[in-house]
Amino acid sequence: MILAPLSRRTLISAAALLGPVLRVRAAEPVDPIFAAISAARRTGMALTAALSDLDEDDEAQNSRANAAADVDSDARNALGKVQPTTEAGFRALVRFHAEDIAFLEPDTFGALALKDIAAALEARGPS
């Protein structure tokens, strides 16, 4: 088969070209906002799960819901202290807040303003 030797050659030359690119990529610092957003999303989902079908007479369930609320609050506070270091991180932060506030308090001034800002960012195209 002709393709096999060709792809070996292609792979070898591509690897030579990719090496410096990958090294540059690896050297780029990761924007810490992504991890903070992920943490806030996860704790938010855990809190929602703990609150759904909550039996308020059940002490264990209440305790789990309170613990989930504390963890979520910590994650949100941590997120508020992190500044994005990249354009992509900034966009992700705007999207997160726009979705979050639309869920928490839809149709409020804040929700509409964040929606407007997110739409403005989308209109600017990819970063």
Binding site: A75, K81, T108, A113
Partner: protein, 172 residues
Amino acid sequence: MSPNSAITVADMGRRAVQSAMPVLLAAPVEAAGRTPDPIHEAIDRAQEAREAYAAALDALGVERNKAAVLVASTAADRDTRAREALAALRPTTRDGLHALIRFYAEDAQAIDPNSPGSEALQILARGLPEPAPTRRRTPSLASRLFTIISECVALAMMTGGSAAVSRLHHLF
């Protein structure tokens, strides 16, 4: 992820900001002062309308006379129109986008200060670079005219010139 690790992330973020200036925030705004972005004009109009509306509401006082109510009502309409015009526009520059975020953050702080939405807007605005010093807002001719005519309307109503007032009011 435990809350501790989230806090570690926060610490990493602080270090990142201190050591490697954020790409987004450190970069000078694109063509600030050179490429006009229509959003700046719309923000200025919305700010002027908001300030005029706030002043008209302050002037209402406890008496709430007819003239003052008319001025406040006209200012409210103008504020609504300015906000609608702003919402219909999209910033065309990064500087314009930053200005829009700052405006909404400031607005939310005045309208609904303790809401989660306001808090989120403050967080976004705090991360932005200082605005370019080249722009200085001056009241537009329309804004100055609006103020003058509003005051005339109030004065004319108080002195009984209601027919002239209603004609003037239709101008808005």
